[in-house]
């Protein structure tokens, strides 16, 4: 039972049902108590008016000497039993019984009670000793006390309460039933979505395609975007692993071949070293491709461009301190672009490191924008890039230099990959101002 309750506590449906049932009960209970109070007050007023009328009538009969009238009262008094009928008592100023109904002689209130009742000096109905009392002055220092038993009054109230709370209970039942129905209808899209997600998990469909109420459309589209990004990333990992496996086979084959070539130790070390470096480049390239963001707008953020460039320049300035590279900066401040910060770090890190590596003593970084694009221009005073190398330098894994330092060639290819994933344009030219290479990146803002 407790487990069943704990299980239900985690359900929005049951939580709402429980909360609203409590709310309905509270509201209807308060309403019932309020109506009951109103009815009770109304009944008391009605009784008071009735007794006041009788008191006036009695006074009138008494003053006009209408003994017949009083006799009627007497008659009324005489038939006062059973309880619930009006009984008359007349008291003088000494609070002594001057006149009372002939029959009603026993059970009269004691002198002390009379005194306390008369001291009330009120014309409103007073509850005392299971009866309602009305005090009315009918002559100078003569009071008429009218007494009504509460039993009849209470039976009327009880009857009203029974009707009232019966009605409210029916209303509660109706409200709960209506709420259960509304809840069912309201949560139906979620149930539908759960089924759709289960279908995706079981491979029956690739996306959530059903039509939903407008409140759930954003949720559906968001889930579809995440699923899409996840699918693309999964495919990217799969392709990367496949590429990695295939591309590693060639250097492995070369090493295997070298082992059966009867090479001397130094020559074998050279072949092995070359192939290890090649494999390292392949792994670095494929890993960077695999982990970089999708760049299709699904997972990117708004990032400030110039602080990223400045951080990388500061880091590179430390590494290449001995080279004493002069960096000319022309950065437009406050440019924000839609991109993953890691991608930008990777791209500018690789390209700026190349600039530091291949320059003689000077590089220039310019960043500016118009309404549609951000332009980033990296220039150096190095040897530049020859005409026929400009296209091949951008190819995967190609190297513009012939130096044997490891790790080169990959960086620029990774940068080109990242740039293309953001639909950027990259041009390689000669730098007129510095005389070396000039890399111009056009980054679309929209």
């Amino acid at each position: 039972m407790i487990k069943w309750l704990e299980g239900k506590c985690h359900s929005i449906r049951y939580r709402l049902l429980f909360a609203f049932t409590l709310l309905f009960i509270s509201v209807l209970l308060l309403l019932g108590l309020f109506l009951d109070h109103l009815y009770s007050v109304d009944q008391k007023q009605h009784l008071q008016q009735k007794l006041q009328f009788k008191a006036s009538l009695f006074t009138h009969c008494l003053s006009s000497g209408d003994t017949l009238g009083i006799a009627k009262f007497d008659y009324c008094v005489s038939v006062q039993k059973p309880d619930g009928q009006t009984v008359f008592y007349i008291y003088n100023s000494l609070h002594e019984l001057a006149w009372g109904s002939p029959i009603q002689t026993t059970g009269n209130p004691t002198a002390a009670v009379i005194k306390s009742l008369l001291n009330l000096k009120t014309i409103s109905l007073t509850e005392f000793s299971a009866s309602f009392w009305l005090v009315s002055e009918i002559a100078n220092n003569s009071f008429l006390l009218l007494k009504v038993s509460q039993n009849q009054f209470q039976s009327q109230i009880d009857s009203f309460r029974l009707d009232l709370f019966g009605l409210l209970a029916s209303l509660l039942g109706l409200l709960i039933a209506s709420f259960v129905y509304i809840l069912h209808r309201g949560l139906q899209p979620l149930d539908k979505m759960v089924i759709a997600i289960a279908d995706i998990a079981s491979g029956k469909s690739k996306q959530i395609e059903d039509e939903y109420a407008s409140e759930f459309v954003a949720m559906r589209d968001g889930l579809n975007n995440v699923l899409n990004a996840e699918r693309i990333q999964r495919e990217r990992y799969r392709n990367t692993l496949a590429d990695l496996a295939h591309s590693l086979k060639t250097p492995l084959a070369v090493m295997q071949g070298a082992a059966s070539e009867n090479l001397d130790y130094a020559a074998y070390l050279r072949v092995a070293g070359d192939q290890i470096r090649r494999m390292d480049q392949i792994i670095q390239y494929q890993l960077t491709r695999a982990v970089k963001s999708i760049g299709d707008g699904a997972k990117v953020n708004i990032v400030q461009l110039t602080p990223i460039i400045e951080r990388i320049l500061s880091a590179l300035g430390k590494v290449y301190r001995d080279k004493e590279v002069k960096v000319i900066l022309n950065l437009e401040r406050g440019i924000e672009i839609n991109a993953d910060e890691r991608d930008l770090m990777e791209m500018f890190g690789n390209m700026l490191e190349n600039a530091f590596k291949y320059c003689r003593s000077e590089i220039a970084v310019s960043v500016y924008s118009d309404q549609d694009n951000v332009f980033i221009i990296l220039e150096d005073d190095g040897a530049g890039v020859s005409e026929n190398m400009r296209n091949t330098i951008l190819e995967r894994g190609e190297r513009a230099d012939t130096s044997a330092a490891p790790g080169q060639g990959i960086g620029l290819s990774v940068s080109v990959d990242i740039l293309s994933s953001y639909n950027c344009r990259l041009e390689v030219e000669d730098s007129f101002s510095l005389g070396g290479a000039k890399f111009s990146i056009t980054f679309p803002l929209h």
């Binding site: 960077t288 880091a315 430390k318 590494v319 001995d322 890691r342 990777e346 790790g407």
Partner: protein, 226 residues
């Protein structure tokens, strides 16, 4: 030169230590970031090599804490991931250079030599004092172009003195930077190295490259020409 290698992979650490010791460096090692923090704060090293991916205390935090404790030795970071974000974070924390795994030991030695020279205020790999030259890459000392045959300890002693030319270096400092902590500091082996160096560098006793500052230590007195 005394180095500290902080690398959690035992095999790579062993390779690094053996490769560096075979090239004449005094190397101490640890695979734990917290122990490295203690060692770096308590002992004097000429350079530390720190792997970024340490288990108990990350390399970046280790570097930050060293720098916060005003330990100013050069730091070379090693990183397996090679992402620029890691490199920039490491350099911003206070490292001076980085090297991406895998690497050739020669490349590591070239980088740390450059950092050691930079820390001593020498930009070029060859220290020139008139006719006397010391090539920090080839680890060759020559006089008038003629190589002088030095043992590993003699070379280390001379390199340290030349790196700190013009300054008096105490025996304790020399011992601390050239030998392991368990070296017998009371022995007169250092005096023997200095005497041999003097004989080899200045057999005619015309240059007096190394001066004994009584009660304080030794000073390399030739004037730098590059």
């Amino acid at each position: 030169m005394k180095l500290l290698v902080v690398e959690d992979d035992a095999d790579l650490r062993r390779q690094l230590v053996s490769g560096l010791e075979s090239r004449g460096y005094t190397v101490e090692e640890t695979g734990d970031g917290r122990e490295a923090l203690y060692m770096g704060c308590e002992f004097n090293y000429d350079l530390t090599i720190v792997d970024l991916g340490l288990p108990s205390l990350s390399g970046v935090d280790l570097i930050k804490q060293w720098r916060a404790a005003e330990r100013n030795f050069p730091i070379l970071i090693l990183t397996a991931r090679g992402e620029w974000q890691d490199k920039v974070e490491g350099l911003e924390a206070g490292a001076d250079d980085f090297l991406v795994k895998p690497f050739h030991i020669e490349e590591l030695v070239a980088r740390l030599n450059a950092l050691l020279r930079r820390a001593a205020g020498h930009a070029k790999p060859v220290l020139e004092f008139g006719n006397l030259t010391l090539d920090t890459i080839g680890r060759v000392v020559a006089f008038g172009g003629r190589p002088i045959n030095l043992t590993s300890y003699e070379y280390r002693t001379l390199e340290y003195l030349m790196m700190h030319a013009g300054k008096t270096v105490s025996k304790a400092e020399l011992t601390e930077h050239l030998y392991h902590q368990d070296f017998d500091r009371d022995s007169n082996v250092l005096e023997v190295f200095i005497r041999r160096l003097r004989q080899k560098l200045d057999p005619d006793q015309t240059m007096s490259p190394i001066t004994t500052v009584r009660g304080l230590g030794y000073r390399f007195d030739l004037v730098r020409t590059s």
